[in-house]
């Protein structure tokens, strides 16, 4: 029995213990701040010039999977954690080009964006087979009970992929980390503001201990 647990443990986290690089995926609905967090992590650990992607208030800004290789973070004891950061397009169940037009985009651009966004969602789902550990990034001002969140987290659980939930946008008045914790009580939830770099030290410490569990 002990051996079985050992095998399971090393199967899930073995690469981390050996110091090998693993793939850390950022998943979540559109506009939850995945790319903002990815950019923040790259800037914090690789330097100011590193950006993994562009951010905007328009949903589906990220429409391709972007990978930043060899991100190395250190904890306060000087231990290192190295991973390839995988920023994925937001997962949605509907995409209507007219929504982009309502936000001021031309018809041609809106249709193109919608086409690319649908492909982005498909790629995100395909990448579920590739990632080793996942941060599910949620907008803490929004309803956490959406089926997309439940489906993504349920899928990761079914694949035995470790998940930590990031409740983003805690700088906003409507933010509620408690609501996120209430929706997913079996998961570790960490609150941050990726945009303003709020609580990032705590986030890195939690990421470190979570990845080494």
């Amino acid at each position: 029995m002990i051996n079985w647990f050992k095998n399971l443990f090393s199967g899930l986290f073995g690469d981390l213990f050996k110091g090998k690089t693993f793939k850390l995926g950022l998943y979540g609905p559109p506009n939850s701040g995945k790319t903002t967090l990815a950019n923040r992590m790259c800037k914090d650990w690789l330097g100011d010039n590193f950006d993994i992607g562009t951010v905007s208030s328009m949903p589906h800004e990220t429409r391709e999977v972007n990978v930043q290789e060899s991100v190395m973070i250190k904890n306060k004891d000087g231990k290192e954690l190295s991973f390839n950061l995988v920023d994925t397009p937001g997962i949605a169940t509907k995409i209507d080009y007219e929504d982009f037009i309502k936000k001021g985009m031309s018809i041609k651009k809106a249709k193109k964006r919608a086409r690319e966004a649908t492909k982005g969602v498909i790629d995100s789902i395909k990448w579920l087979d590739e990632v080793d550990t996942v941060l599910v990034v949620l907008d803490s001002t929004e309803d956490p009970y959406s089926q997309v969140n439940v489906t993504v987290i349920g899928n990761l659980a079914a694949r035995d992929i470790p998940v930590m939930i990031v409740a983003n946008k805690v700088d906003k008045k409507k933010s509620s980390i408690k609501k996120v914790q209430g929706a997913f009580p079996q998961y570790e939830v960490v609150g941050i503001s990726a945009k303003y770099g709020k609580h990032m030290d705590n986030f890195y410490e939690r990421l470190f201990s979570f990845s080494r569990k």
Binding site: K126, V148, T151
Partner: protein
């Protein structure tokens, strides 16, 4: 007018994953709201989203999806959960209900631990 189509679990249990997804998606694409007894497998739910994205065009803009779990499930003891797990493995996940609505008809499905609300779009906006 909103049309609901109830799909008992036995109508999908013998189908392959692709077959299940196709059946449910085809109903949603015909502007009907699907009420499925039970739920799809976790992997099938993700595949449903993927298949939906592949089908999006001028007329079909996607779906709204909600899964209602059996309310007592989360409070059950370890043994009961294990028993339910075995039953699900053998007979499929018949507990709960899955709602799949075309986004041209269903504006939003709001879910919290105590209730589920389905908001439909106004008819004039569906044209």
């Amino acid at each position: 007018m909103v049309t609901l189509q109830f799909v008992p679990y036995n109508q999908i249990e013998d189908l392959t994953s692709i077959g299940r997804i196709r059946k449910l998606l085809n109903i949603a694409k015909s502007n009907k709201i699907v009420l499925l007894q039970g739920r799809l497998k976790q992997e099938e739910e993700a595949e449903l989203i993927k298949a939906t994205m592949e089908e999006i065009n001028k007329e079909f803009k996607g779906i709204e999806l909600a899964v209602i779990e059996n309310a007592s499930k989360s409070k059950d003891s370890g043994f009961k959960k294990l028993k339910q797990g075995m039953v699900s493995l053998l007979l499929g996940q018949r507990d709960g209900m899955t709602i799949i609505g075309p986004s041209s008809v269903v504006k939003k499905i709001k879910k919290d631990p105590n209730k589920i609300e389905l908001f439909t779009k106004e008819a004039r906006k569906r044209r």
